[in-house]
Amino acid sequence: MEPMGTRTKIGLIALLMVVMLTGCWSRRELETLDFITAVGLDHAAEEGKIQVTVQMAKPFAITGSVQSSVQEKPFHVMTATGYTVFEAVRNLNSISPRRPFWAHARFIVFGEDMARDGLQEALDFFDRDGEPRRTSYILMAQGVKASDLLQAEFSQEPMPSEGISELLQGTRLAQSTVAAMTVNEFLQALEGEGIDPITVRVELIPLEEDFAIGGDVLRDEVKAKTRMTGSAIFKDDRLVAWMNRPQTRGYLWVTGQVRSGIININEPETADAYVSLEIVGSRGSFKPQLTKDGIKILVQVEVHVNIGEMQQYIDIRKDPGLWVSIERRLTQVVKNEIMAAVTKAQLFGADIFGFGAEINRRHPKEWRRLRENWEEEFKRLTVEVEVKARIKRVGLVINRTPIRK
């Protein structure tokens, strides 16, 4: 090819300048953005409207000097309403000098009133828009509005949204008493056949009026804090019931999501004190069996525990029968938790476990017949639980220090 002429070169440079010098179209400068860290959705006071509450980071309060960061809250809360979520979101622009930026929202929390009426109208924005992510968690606020929940603070964590995220991770890992779903999982459970959504319950605990919080936090006192226990179960997109901690763990056993947690059983010999067992490993799965008498779900759980605490002295070395006894009691607790979850779910016809989906996977032909009337079938089905429990370790002492009388 012939070498490029001077005129062509100049032309190319001019063309490049036209592109470059006009700047970038879709640019967003950091200092013009307001980072949303958490979102709350409620029914607005006005009939038929949706209220969107956002918790946003205040960057200058986070990066300021130590003194100011302690005294000034590093977040602020804003509320706007609209007939759709998107309208409400845009209405935020009329009260926020900075453009709200959604990509860092950790979770979306729904007020109970709204969740009871169904989330259908509220979810599409978070799936369709390019900024929010499907990896955010969905939370349900029990008894309060989401906007109230977003005002609650923690004394050790300056950003409440960060605190709630840590709370969620903490309860999942240490207790296995919450079942959380991300937007991705929630939407799948909504569209999927034979499965209903379940997600985490958050409660607001009001504190005494003049509750003094210790430490270095000098800003105006924390008025309420949040607690994360149990879960909310859904029939389609409607919240139908709350599950307490044992019921939620029952759900987690069935779906194989138990990570750790404490189970108390009666001490086998005298039965007037407790032994605390720490779950260190578990496996759980279920198999649908289609028999003549109806659908039977066989739940198989394997649980490994360490002895975490004994309130009374027993010689654990003396008799392997004692271990068996502890394991048997543990087995019963796990069974009880599972049956509590199943009973609750069946009562409301909410197939949170995905029994139907599993039948579809294993017996697609039969599912074609069952899917029509799945709610009734689900309420009728029987669940059989098989638990294998093992005590793995005992901690740093074998027997507890006995008290000589």
Binding site: M1, A103, R134, T135, N184, G192, E193, N360, R361, W367
Partner: protein, 367 residues
Amino acid sequence: MFLDKISPREATAMLIISRLMMATVLFPTLTELGDPQNIWLVGLCGMIIAVPVILLVVALGLEFPGQTIIQYSQVLLGKFFGKIVGLILVWYWFHIAVTSAAALGGSLTSAIMVETPEIVLIGIIAYLGASAARNGLEVMARVADNALWVVLFFVLVTIILPFDVMKPGHLLPVLADGWAALFPPVTSAVSFFMEFIVVGMLIPHVDRPQGMLRYSAYAILTAGTVLVLLGLAAVMVFGPNVNNLSMPVFSLARMISIGRFFERIEFIPMGAWIMCAGIKLSLFIWAASLGLTQVLGLGQGQVLIYPMGALVVASSLLFYEDFLVLIQFLTRGGWSVYSLGITLTIILLLCAAVLLRRLLRGGANGD
């Protein structure tokens, strides 16, 4: 006329990248799928059907060494009908370039650069593609050969990294609604492979034309396998939601979050989009311009490349004014019928003509 020479491997790279382009952007086949869990079956069937058809095109090219599909169709079908077939093919390639440009522009503006005018994005990519084509097939081929590894790396990253949100259970049950449900998505998959008819323009430029028999099959199998893997990853991550997504691969990359630190890496599929689109546009703009010169009997093909590129930009905004029009066309069977109709008719026509010619000549020799 000076003939650029490329190796079969470089031709393969161009074909693979062209095939991956539409799938990494819109993945119409996945969207058309009723039961997402059948994606791998659809991909497999698509490949199995596409290989023999494309091999026919290569075999035709080998029958007429040194001639493009446009040239030998004039030999086979006579001047008039040959030129009509040529014009249809030129239109088809032009339309592929237009559709790809529109898909890229529409996706970039939907996903990230919402405020940027589409014409700027399409214009820049089409300019890059056309200027590569203007410099000749060798340049394009070498770019494609190097870009292929980058594109494959980007795609593999998107497939593997969302592993923590994948649920293998979403892949069952297979074929719950029987084979009939596979028909629309399989036709869609095959119809996109039919773009490989452009190999008819490449063969005279390939230094070892015989090798293209093997290599075009490799192209289909490689592209098909990558598509199946992408589809499997998307289905495992999004389950029943997968066919609601307008850009499944982009959404897949948005799910990547490793340790709450390695996240927000949507630029990876976008990088793949832009590279694929640049190379695809250059290939099809080149094919359409060269084809047009050969239909019209003009000497120099290169002259038409920039005008063709400009036409592609303008047409992509004109044909697909709205993203919805594009999606409707690509995912509701329109494109499948259109693409398969054009390519299968032409391929069968040409094959029939070759057989007829052989019969006649065989008869003549026998006498």
